[in-house]
């Protein structure tokens, strides 16, 4: 059995389906919030380890922001912040 690689949600393409493995705040350093605050906000919107995500849409310029389905909820966020969400491919 091969292990599927872990990537950042901020690097994923439209159509990506996967499962959250970790929140790695060190990967999203440039977001105007202290890392613990960004972590709390991500969790409050449902980005918790084990949750299923799917990248649904992206914006015109630089593919930013992105619309992500987390379980049954759709959340819009910028790729910059989504870099902190580590996911493995489950498609």
């Amino acid at each position: 059995m091969t292990t599927t690689p872990t990537i950042a949600l901020g690097d994923a393409h439209v159509g990506f389906r996967g499962r959250i493995t970790a929140l790695d705040l060190a990967r999203a350093p440039a977001v105007g919030l202290p890392p613990p605050e960004l972590e709390r906000r991500l969790i409050e919107l449902g980005f918790v380890e084990g949750a299923m995500v799917e990248l649904l849409h992206q914006g015109l310029f630089g593919g930013d922001p992105i619309a992500v389905r987390v379980a049954a909820t759709t959340i819009a966020l910028r790729r910059r912040e989504a870099m902190a969400v580590m996911v493995t491919d489950q498609s």
């Binding site: 929140l23 440039a30 977001v31 105007g32 919030l33 613990p36 960004l38 972590e39 709390r40 906000r41 991500l42 969790i43 409050e44 919107l45 449902g46 918790v48 380890e49 084990g50 949750a51 649904l56 849409h57 992206q58 914006g59 015109l60 310029f61 630089g62 930013d64 922001p65 619309a67 389905r69 379980a71 049954a72 909820t73 759709t74 959340i75 819009a76 966020l77 910028r78 910059r80 912040e81």
Partner: protein
């Protein structure tokens, strides 16, 4: 027992944004609701009364939507403090109703677990049960009650009888005379949040008998509406219609209102009263009230569209589509609608900045909204352009007059983007702003009742809040233009003897480098009431009789008396100048103090001065003096 002195129990509605909490509030209270502000902050306070089937009188409070009691915005702070009973002016809730969208329970369950820690009686209302059922979602309510440890009832806010079960449950709960225990709530850290979300996921897993499917309509609509190219084009089309409506539909109503006030003014003008009283009633009071009420049609139409798009679930999508474009200038995606609205009038534009959650982003938007070319500038622009700019074509097909008009609009937009870019760095000292993170709710069909209540309460709030301050400013401006009174047998227009004229003369040395003579300075003072009033004031000063062709006559006189450089400088001045007392009054209301009024006033004044100075001096150097 004396029932009269017994206060009605307070029931607080708490829930995630988009959970249908407001629809539930409307269904519970109907027209017995009022919207006010919490003291000292600009957070809307929505309270209503209802009588339960058992005859119990209840006070219902609709608290701002939130994902957590860990407040991140002024709105969420109110929710937290109200729930914890920390607001000095408000009674603590006797019962908390956690409102949850039955088709989107996950985040609501986590909030419910947090609410339980507060120690006050809590129950859950599963809203939009009909939508969940339609999607094949089956919820085991008993399992949910057992695992959450609080009573849970289903409700359908939009249907007659859809809240009967909730009303009965409120009766049962309040009859048990529940008491609060000490709060165990502390702002959760990431570990605690993670733990409570895991617990919520476990509760959800046990309570969902059938997961159902996601809303197919939303997926289909988003395939088009969030398409990178088509989505943007559709947004532009929607905005075009909205803009058109605010401009075109409102104008007959605005004309009717303004005619009615002119008629009323004329009526008073003929009344057998002392001259000063007559002038106060006609030019101060009636003209002042009229200049406020005239904005009402635009505000009603604009808020109708904003609330419609919000209720549809489209507003979050518009922010998604515009985020990158606005972000370049340091503005939030949600700033787009308020700024666009400001092309009609900055007042509804500034009022609609409430859709922006973050305080800094909201202040930046309020700061730059008056730079958008509003409709009140059009009469001034038209007068000067038609008097000074020759009616000819450049490059064979573009009218020069139209080109100048376009240039003035473009200058306003460029100014707004530059100011927001600078403000972001100067005031907030951040390069990376607040993150853009928001839920894209499923599309829903808006309820007419909810829309009507929403528009009505905003119209009322505008009249009440802005009316008092704006009226006071109007009266002040009238007094400046009326006192002291002209001496017996004076031949010049009365305004020439007033304080306004003295100010106009006094500041002439300051405005000389801009090419403004004292007559222009004087016209700028009544022009503070509303920009277009400056046109009439110029007419008064140059002693032009009123009537149909008044503005044409003024134009001819101005063309004789002013050099081109002065006219161009005045145009540049009007692009930036804080020439509107009503806007300043609304900024005071919306920011809760004079500080941001002062910031807006002085930065705009500085920009206007610099722009007019540069324009005049360059134009003179090029031989237009």
């Amino acid at each position: 027992m004396n029932a009269a002195v017994e206060l009605a129990p307070v029931v607080a509605l708490v829930g995630n944004p988009n959970c249908g909490k407001t629809a539930l509030f409307n269904a519970l209270t109907g027209s017995r609701q009022k919207v006010a502000n919490y003291p000292g902050v600009t957070v809307e306070k929505k309270v209503g009364r209802l009588t339960t089937p058992a005859g119990r009188s209840i006070e219902i409070v609709d608290l701002p939507g939130t994902y957590s009691l860990r407040a991140r915005s002024p709105d969420e702070e109110i929710t937290r403090d109200a729930v914890l009973g920390r607001l000095a002016t408000e009674r603590a809730p006797d019962l908390i109703v956690c409102v949850a969208d039955a088709s989107n329970l996950r985040l609501a369950l986590r909030l419910a677990l947090e609410l339980k820690q507060v120690g006050r009686p809590v129950m859950m209302s599963l809203n939009m049960m009909d939508i969940a059922r339609k999607r094949g979602i089956e919820i085991d309510v008993e399992a949910l009650e057992r695992d959450l440890g609080i009573p849970v009832v289903g409700s359908i806010a939009v249907r007659r009888g859809g809240i009967d079960a909730l009303l009965a449950a409120l009766d049962t709960r309040l009859a048990a005379n529940p008491t609060a225990s000490a709060s165990e709530w502390r702002a959760p850290d990431a570990t605690a949040l993670r733990g409570s979300q895991r617990e919520a996921d476990r509760v959800l897993g046990a309570a969902i008998r059938k997961a159902g499917h996601l809303d197919p309509g939303t997926a289909k609509a988003d395939a088009v509406l969030l398409h990178p190219v088509a989505g943007l084009l559709i947004l532009l089309a929607i905005l075009f219609v909205m803009f058109q409506a605010v401009f075109a539909w409102a104008s007959p109503l605005m004309e009717a209102i303004s005619e009615a006030f002119t008629w009323l003014g004329a009526l008073v003008g003929e009344a057998p009263l002392p001259e000063l009283v007559r002038s106060f009633l006609k030019d101060g009071l009636i003209a002042g009230v009229g200049s406020v009420i005239v904005f009402l049609p635009q505000i009603v139409i604009l808020f109708f569209f904003i609330l419609l798009l919000e209720d549809l679930g489209y507003m979050a999508r518009a922010a998604f589509l515009m985020d990158r474009i606005m972000g370049g200038a340091g503005l939030h995606g949600r700033a787009f609608i308020p700024l666009l609205s400001s092309f009609a009038c900055a007042i509804p534009g500034i009022m609609s900045t409430r859709v922006i959650d973050d305080r800094r982003d909201r202040l930046t938007t309020i700061l730059v909204a008056p730079l958008m070319t509003c409709s009140a500038r059009i009469p001034v622009y038209t007068l000067i352009i038609s008097a000074f700019i020759p009616e000819r074509e450049v490059w064979g097909f573009i009218g020069l007059q139209g080109l100048v008009m376009f240039g003035l609009y473009a200058a306003g937009i460029a100014g707004a983007l530059t100011v927001s870019f600078v403000a972001k760095r100067l005031f907030w000292r951040t390069t990376a702003g607040e993150p853009f993170m928001l839920e894209l709710p499923d599309y829903k069909i808006p309820q007419a009742r909810s829309l009507v209540f929403g528009v009505w309460s905003r119209a009322l709030a505008f009249l009440k809040r802005a009316g008092t301050t704006i009226l006071a400013m109007m009266i002040l401006i009238w007094a400046l233009a009326s006192f002291p009174q002209p001496p017996e047998g004076a031949t010049d227009p009365a305004i020439d003897y007033s304080l306004a004229a003295k100010i106009g003369h006094a500041i002439e040395p300051v405005t000389m480098p801009l090419g403004f003579n004292w007559q222009i300075n004087v016209a700028l003072i009544p022009g503070m009431a509303a920009r277009e009033v400056a046109v009439g004031a110029l007419g008064t000063i140059y002693a032009v009789d009123g009537g149909e062709e008044a503005s044409e006559k003024i134009g001819r006189i101005l063309a004789d008396q002013w050099p081109l450089a002065t006219a161009l400088a005045l145009l540049a001045w009007y692009v930036f100048a804080p020439q509107c007392a009503s806007t300043l009054a609304v900024i005071r209301r919306e920011t809760g103090g004079w500080k941001w009024v002062a910031v807006t006033f002085f930065y705009m004044l500085a920009l206007a001065y610099a722009a007019a100075l540069a324009t005049y001096q360059i134009a003179r150097a090029l031989g237009a003096g």
